[in-house]
Amino acid sequence: MKVGVIVFPGSNCDEDAVAAFRDQFGCETVKLWHKDNDLQACDLIFLPGGFSYGDYLRSGAIARFSPIMQNVIDFAAKGGLVWGVCNGFQILCESQLLPGALLHNDHQKFNCKNVFIKANTTESLITSNLTVNTALQIPIAHGEGRYYCDEANLLKLKSNNQILFTYCDANGNETDGSNPNGSLQNIAGICNEKRNVFGMMPHPERAVDTELYNTDGRGLFQSLLASFELV
């Protein structure tokens, strides 16, 4: 699988994503510059975390107008794989590749810590190898991560099984106390209806290296690579 990690001005998890895909999972990985209209024949486009355009106006609101985003939108429309984490998720929502929006955390503070999330379904490329309802310890680091969408979209997310991850406690229970930002129904990550665009606030790429003593994120990458080979 060839992976392209987009670098917007202000992206700061791009190197971490490259390190995860290339060093941990052996994928051919290239960085894609936001001003270029070229996806370099990548199989997966990854939108990393960070503060694209300084988060001016609203997280992700300006990045969606970057030249390369038109290519990403076209690529996704043709069924191409797109995965956004943190600021990448925010950009995908702003670009309307994913429904809903990421609001300021309910406590109004930036929050970086390990949290627990669980896969709600194995019916997606990034959850295919995970065990449903089993807690994974994955870090978050965001100020605007409170997932919100209207009633109609929530119904669609549910009926189409698009909610991939929810915040939970260590035992896999979706409690209020385990929701770190006030997200609607503890939603931590979703996919689009066609199941080729994925967005999530937690950072699985920060939980893949044994030298950092937490590898709970590896399952997402392994799922992706295993299911991609099958396709």
């Binding site: 001005p9 202000g10 700061n12 998890c13 190197e15 971490d16 390190a19 995860a20 001003k35 975390g49 960070g50 503060f51 355009y53 300084g54 988060d55 001016y56 503070k109 930036f110 929050n111 970086c112 810590k113 390990n114 870090p139 680091a141 100020g143 950072h203 790429e205 920060r206 290296d209 030298e211 950092l212 003593y213 937490n214």
Partner: protein, 746 residues
Amino acid sequence: MSQMQPVGNLATLEQATQLGLRPEEFEKIKEILGRTPTFTEMSIYSVMWSEHCSYKNSIVWLKTLPKEGEKMLAKAGEENAGLIDIGDGLACCFKIESHNHPSAIEPYQGAATGVGGINRDIFSMGARPIAQMNSLRFGNIENERTKWLVKGVVKGIGNYGNAFGIPTVGGEVYFDDCYQINPLVNAMSVGIAKVGKTVSAIAEGVGNPVYIYGSATGKDGIHGAAFASKDITEDSAKDLPSVQVGDPFWEKLILEATMELLETTDAVVGMQDMGAAGITCSTSEMSAKSGTGMKVWLDKVPMRQAGMKDWEVLLSESQERMLVVVHKGKEAEVEKIFKKWDLTYAVIGEVTDTGRVQYFMDGELRADIPGESLVLGGGAPVYHREYKEPRYFEEINKFDLNQIADIDLAAAPAVAKALMAHPNIASKRWVYNQYDSMVGTVNQTTNAPSDAAVVKVKGSNRSIAMTVDCNSRFVYADPFKGAMIAVAEAARNLVCSGAEPAGVTNCLNFGNPYNPEVYYQFVYAIKGMGEACKKFDTPVTGGNVSFYNQSSDDNAVFPTPTIGMVGLLPKGSKHMTLNFKQAGDVIVMLGQTQNDLGCSHYLAHYLKVAQSPAPWFDLDQEYNMQQAVLKLIGAGLIQSAHDVSEGGLLTCLLESAFVDNFGFDIQQTAGSRLDAFLFGEAQGRVVVSINPAKLADVESLLNRLNLSFEKLGTVSANGIKVNGVDFGSTANYSQIYNNSLASQLN
């Protein structure tokens, strides 16, 4: 003198003193120039000769600190930051700096720009920052203004550091009444460079163009350097424009452009960031360092607003700006990179051989000064200040432990709970959760906590450990011993993490140096620091001095010489953690229980005894004890290591127990006072836990090293027991420890 007379009004003595120059300094300027300076020239001298830029009141003593060491790649003061060899062709570049005065007035921007400034110091040397730390001190947490300051400072550090994208991996937060008006905000950054690929702040090659790049220049922060060298007064709020405004987005773009400039071209001759005193400082320091001169056309500087005066452009401390001298003919390569990152840039000058910095505007010469006369080590004044023993020492010397009644076991749990709730001891989670501590995927202490932060150096098989430490109450009680303890504690934190201490950067926060009692604190703190740094073989690679940390009508803050220390974990060495691992493990304390309560939190904050001597400390014992810890870790004989510091032994044990919810069962050391045993803060002690099967090996190693140690008891599944008395469950204490700060600040 053959020079042209610059255009502009001549300065008066009155103006000079208003800008912080002393009458004799104004005379010296006239002597150097051979004429009366213009207002613009006098403004330049006022900032360059401020304490902040010239170190005029501190340099005599700073020079006594040890600077030599095998691993040192640059001597203190020679470069923007310290540089040590970490092997594999890599160098670690690190520095700590204060942003106290701006933060006192505008906590959010003051702290944010402190973070921005220290990171520029690192990457302007060609090192990519990989981790940040900070040391924060505030007044009473119950005070509303303190809460406002804490929230503002933490948000400022967080928003800047998080967007800049370098993890904040550790630090310290203290609360004490002495910081009520004047909080301390010290920020540290650590970066990695390739040996031989670093860049210096030099301006060589006559005719080479001088670029400014980054943000445009505005009127913010003018006279910030001079402001930082004055006492804080009620009127300081009127100085608000002296505080700069930061933008981490620009800083991130400048970082990437700078690294690309250095990694993909050979165009760069030298560079320096623009911090205190802006264009003035960077142009004069760079040319003075190379013995060259510089012509600068101020109207070419990209400006944020129209109608800026020459001295405003010169002194502006607008953030996120860099000055770079490039080889003539390489302009296109350099500009291509600036354009790629959408940076504002301009050629504003060129290198000359005149030895003078000459500033032009509207086609007129506005200032013409020998560069060397402005800078530290050149013509900047150097003062020997007088000092005398502080009178409050008499009060401290009156302290008699025998006047303090020992506590009994029944009373101890309540004391322990009060200490767990004390903001100096309680978990700082409320603070550090607002910092991105994991970006960069190098932080190894997130999931494996240790006394120092440990980060891996990508592309090598090694890690570096880092810590910031200073118990300023100790320094107040005994500046010499207190500063030694600050160094010793920093080294101890590194050692407990499995790292060998390698080098120091210091941030020297003191009161007004013209007060002989304050200056005594400074002199003796430097002496103590020097002694300890020699013992631990940790040369001082650089740092920063911040005087005038006091209000005009109150006393100075506690003397606070914050130590930033970096250590190395070589290939294959063990990262040691602080948490207990298994019930049944034996708890051993290296070092000895002392009947000492000096400056302990129990004494100062629970019993409210304000004046007491610094605690027991012995430099040789400390060093030997730390060497023993390293040997135990190296031999794989211990499960955990945690030093005894704030709060004493019981706090230390609880912190080791909290992580995985263990308990412990210990016996008081024979012959000790219970209060001193549980809550005393005598130095030279580390608590380790040991698998019982390895106890004999540990004992024989410690006996061989002739090191005192005490077997305290064992790790248990849960609950605290002292002398067989049940102190309650671990959770009783951890809940207080974890929630105290949030409950006081939310």
